[in-house]
């Protein structure tokens, strides 16, 4: 208790708080940075806040987060309070096992809770949907098909919130004088009357505390939401998780700052009020005044929350009754096109992204779907077509299909061209930072070379990564020979063992290559061009061994809820104007023959300078490059399983 000791203790606490708050502080400072860099200070700006409020995805997910938190905590509080009263009145023999079950969601790992509920929803909806389909076909009823979404998210949040409410209400029930209810009944109350007049006021602190905990837990949750929200609903945390896999924008810092400041203000207000109340307790004259002000405070708080929600609703919802759910890749569409489409048609576009073909496939299969349009690559189109996941398109609704070059029609993945409309095409290659390597890279060998240890970003999807190995070894990327595939895997595994790979990435590649975090990466031509804009040291090469050329095609899922809107969207995207704008934004070559040919002129008109032919050649690889490239075919199931297995084992390291 002496002074020195106490000073040491305080110092330790200050250091701990510094540890807790320094990262948040950094986050907040860089939300005002006049550059998209998260580490270099370039001056003060409020632009990110401005952009934040125009970012429909973030605002929408913030709205979802708050709405789910509010609804789930309110429902959980009511349900949990009643459940607690029920449990409290049970015989011990019955109560104990029930309380154990009640504790499961709190003690179980979030991921297990999330995954298990996800399985339940998938199973239940699967059963319902096939039943509904049969009924609809047989009896002409129109039972809707169900998919994971806001409803399932809400159910999941309620489920993990109730135990916290019970945990916080139970002790208050135990503390309560058992005779209180009887006294109230003795004085003429019915049981319900006694409940509202006596029990509720008595356990109110526990109930309020439970509500707060539930709200907090709901806002803080990511894992359970991630598995139960389905593909078309997104909480803020999920959006951020999605964004960290892409080019990270300081908009995240801005939204963090706003959240933090809001919470801080709320806490300060609540604490000041409580302090005022506790002081008032000692002074009865002040008590009355404080009670009145506390009631006013509660109303004020509720009003503020309602106002925020209302504002978010206005920001996030245009009154569009028609919707189309699109799942594309990150950084793979010009957002202006979405705006334009919405304005022209009145259809709201709910644009989600997936990391890669396999991830998208998982989401479609597991998510109980909900997407209308997806943009898989060739081999995945083929696989999904064979598995019966795709709907036949009504090309009468897609007149712009005629603008697509015949080269991209009737390809092997869709020989009769019933299911897909090409979106973009391009090549896979090596992107490298000329300032960080000694000589130009020309071969896939660079990806297995210990010389570049810790400098290489390997692509994070099995088909491309193992494909790189196959191409280096001179095998076909479509081989089904287990020996060849294992040989390619071995190459990757050894290089990983030797520490060649800094990381396995998908769209994180943007930030890392632009910032010089890594020297070499495997990625797509179009994305290289986007990075090149920000870092002219970068170069792209289609290695001498040849590479993969791919087509990403728009498809409509079989159980798409908005098929007509989906076709409208596809038609819109195929138009030459849209293709031009999109090419300018994402740098992927368009299958719209006229757009592709017109692009250099379009570029010149837009930027007042001639387009570098070398860059155009990277975007739209010329014939001689394509001659050395091979497209991916769908693989047979055994080979697919082999890929999955090897991929998981490779990830383990």
């Amino acid at each position: 208790m002496n002074g020195k000791n106490r000073f040491g203790g305080r110092l330790a606490m200050v250091l701990t708080f510094l540890f807790l708050y320094a990262p948040i502080f950094v986050l907040m400072v860089f939300s005002f940075n006049d550059s998209s860099s998260r580490t270099l200070w370039k001056g003060f700006t409020l632009d990110w806040y401005g952009e934040l409020f125009q970012d429909g995805i973030i605002i929408n997910s913030l709205y979802t987060t708050l709405l789910v938190a509010l609804l789930s905590s309110l429902i959980a509080t009511v349900a949990g309070t009643f459940a607690a009263i029920g449990f409290f009145n049970m015989k011990r023999r019955v109560r104990t096992p029930l309380m154990t079950i009640n504790n499961i969601p709190m003690t179980n790992a979030d991921i297990v809770t999330g995954v298990s509920m996800c399985l339940l929803f998938v199973a239940a909806f699967g059963a319902w949907n096939s039943f509904a389909q049969q009924m609809n076909e047989a009896n002409g009823t129109s039972l809707p098909s169900l998919a994971m979404g806001f409803g399932t998210l809400l159910i999941a949040h309620i489920t993990f919130n109730i135990p916290y409410v019970i945990l916080s209400v139970m002790p208050k029930l135990r503390q309560m004088d058992k005779n209180l209810v009887e006294a109230a009944q003795d004085l003429g109350c019915t049981w319900m009357g006694a409940f509202f007049k006596v029990v509720l006021p008595e356990i109110k602190p526990g109930v309020v505390n439970g509500l707060l905990i539930a709200f907090t837990m709901s806002v803080d949750d990511f894992v359970i939401s991630y598995f139960t929200a389905g593909p078309t609903t997104s909480t803020l945390a999920m959006t951020i998780y999605g964004m960290t896999k892409k080019r990270i924008s300081p908009k995240i810092n801005a939204v963090s700052t706003l959240l933090f400041v809001t919470v801080l203000l709320l806490l300060v207000i609540v604490n000041l009020r409580e302090m005022q109340q506790s002081r008032a307790k000692k002074d009865p004259r002040r008590a009355a005044r404080s009670a009145a002000s506390s009631r006013r405070g509660t109303i004020l708080g509720a009003g503020a929350l309602a106002a925020v929600l209302l504002a978010l609703i206005l920001l996030s919802r245009q009154n569009n009754s028609r919707v189309v759910n699109v799942c594309g890749w990150g950084e793979n569409i010009d957002p202006a096109l979405i705006e334009q489409f919405q304005e022209e048609t009145g259809i709201r576009v709910n644009y989600q992204t997936a990391e890669g073909n396999e991830t998208m496939y998982s989401k479609v299969v597991l998510g109980g779907s909900g997407y209308d349009v997806i943009v898989p690559s060739d081999y995945m189109v083929s696989q999904m077509r064979q598995e019966g996941l795709l709907a036949e398109l009504d090309f009468a609704n897609i007149p712009n299909f005629s603008l697509i070059d015949d080269t991209y029609k009737h390809l092997s993945y869709d020989p009769e061209n019933l299911y897909s409309v090409p979106y973009t095409w391009g090549t896979l290659g090596i992107i490298y930072n000329t300032a960080m390597v000694d000589e130009p890279i020309t071969s896939w060998s660079a990806l297995f070379d210990p010389q570049y240890a810790g400098q290489v970003l390997m692509i994070n999807n099995p088909r491309d990564a193992i494909g790189v190995g196959l191409m280096y070894l001179g095998y076909s990327v479509n081989t089904t020979d287990e020996g060849e595939i294992r040989e390619a895997y071995q190459l990757l595994a050894e290089a990983r063992e030797q520490g060649v790979y800094q990381s396995f990435v998908m769209d994180e590649v943007y930030d890392k290559m632009e910032a010089g975090e890594a020297a070499i990466a495997v990625y797509y031509a179009g994305d290289f061009l986007a990075m090149y804009e920000n870092n002219p040291d970068l170069a792209f090469v289609v290695p001498q061994e040849g590479s993969n050329w791919f087509v990403d095609a728009m498809c409509v899922l079989k159980d798409a809820p908005h098929k007509e809107a989906a076709e409208e969207w596809i038609n819109f995207i195929c138009s030459t104007d849209a293709c031009l704008a999109n090419m300018d934004y994402i740098w992927y070559a368009s299958p719209n023959v006229q757009a592709l040919a017109d692009y250099p002129a379009y570029y010149e008109e837009l930027y007042g300078e001639e387009m570098d032919p070398a860059l155009y050649a990277i975007m739209a690889a010329p014939e001689e490059v394509l001659a050395g490239c091979e497209a991916y075919d769908a693989l047979p199931a055994e080979t697919n399983d082999l890929y999955k297995e090897l991929w998981t084992v490779l990830g383990i390291g």
Binding site: I111, A237, I240, I652
Partner: protein, 295 residues
């Protein structure tokens, strides 16, 4: 009378059956079935290849929990000794970051730890790398060593260390709060009684405070260990793809690139069983006290 009121819990009991028990049963069912349907043990056999991940996850979670305990206990203890005003402010300060989504907090570390991140920029600004390189060079020429002399940055992100840091950062409050709430509620006169009966401060701590705070420690350890062992976001954000943990493995089977929910369920099940077993042993060890209140 009494029984009738217990019916209040009925809706929730049904709810639990639907959304707590059924999902877990479903995990069990999936774990023992194959993609084509039909019972199989194959999923568990396949899992043999992943023992490295199990080992790594438990290892990192144990380290993170230990670090949290080593930092969290003294801090809780110091907090509980301060005046009520200080305690109040400190509790709020510790809880405050929890009200920001934990993903944001983890994200904050990314920009600090990157190769071109704030810390490395700071080191470079104070010429730390020059110093390191000079020292290495001197050592090399003096002893014929082959230390690198061209260090440009310290590799911090995408390492196990970064993942542990992320876990500690995110879950430290879960360690501090339960321990603190037990310590703060502890009757001060117990400590005085121990001192009065001849115990030195150290002995009083060991024989009275420590055993009495054990329930708080146990619930803190649980609350740090369980999310640490099953995290996938922290390892993904701070470990890149170099530190695959159980959570990532499970995610990979469900929404990731290797769609295989049966295998994912089997892994979840095994993880759940191991965690429950650990907790059971620990609670036995610490006399199954009731869980301390969390917030």
């Amino acid at each position: 009378m009494k029984n009738r009121r217990s019916l209040f819990a009925l809706p929730y009991v049904v709810w639990m059956a639907l959304f707590v028990v059924a999902p877990i049963l479903l995990v069990v069912v999936y774990a023992f079935s194959s993609a084509a349907g039909g019972a199989t043990l194959e999923n568990f056999r396949d899992m043999g290849g992943y023992w490295v991940v199990f080992l790594r996850s438990f290892e990192l979670a144990v380290v993170a929990t230990a670090v949290c305990l080593v930092i969290g206990y003294p801090i809780s203890y110091l907090m509980a000794r301060e005046g009520p005003r200080f305690q109040r402010v400190a509790t709020v300060l510790i809880m405050l970051p929890m009200w920001m989504n934990f993903l944001l907090r983890t994200y904050a570390w990314m920009s600090i730890l990157e190769n071109t991140g704030l810390l490395n920029r700071l080191f470079s600004a104070i010429r730390l790398f020059d110093l390191v390189n000079a020292v290495s060079g001197a050592l090399n020429s003096a002893f014929g060593l082959k230390l690198a002399t061209d260090v440009q940055y310290f590799q911090m992100i995408n390492t196990s260390g970064a993942v542990v840091l992320g876990m500690v950062y995110n879950y430290l409050p879960f360690m501090i709060l339960p321990i603190y709430s037990v310590l703060a509620k502890m009757d001060r006169s117990l400590l005085e009684a121990a001192r009065d009966l001849g115990a030195s401060p150290a002995a009083a701590f060991r024989r009275v405070i420590l055993p009495l705070s054990l329930p708080g420690v146990l619930s803190g350890v649980t609350m740090v260990f369980v999310p640490s062992v099953s995290t996938f976001a922290i390892s993904r954000l701070l470990g890149g793809s170099n530190v695959m943990l159980l959570g990532n493995l499970i995610e990979l089977q469900f929404t990731g690139s290797s769609y295989d929910p049966q295998l994912g369920s089997a892994i979840s099940l095994v993880m759940m069983v191991i965690v429950v077993a650990c907790m059971y042993v620990m609670n036995r060890f610490g006399e199954g006290e009731e869980q301390a209140v969390m917030l």
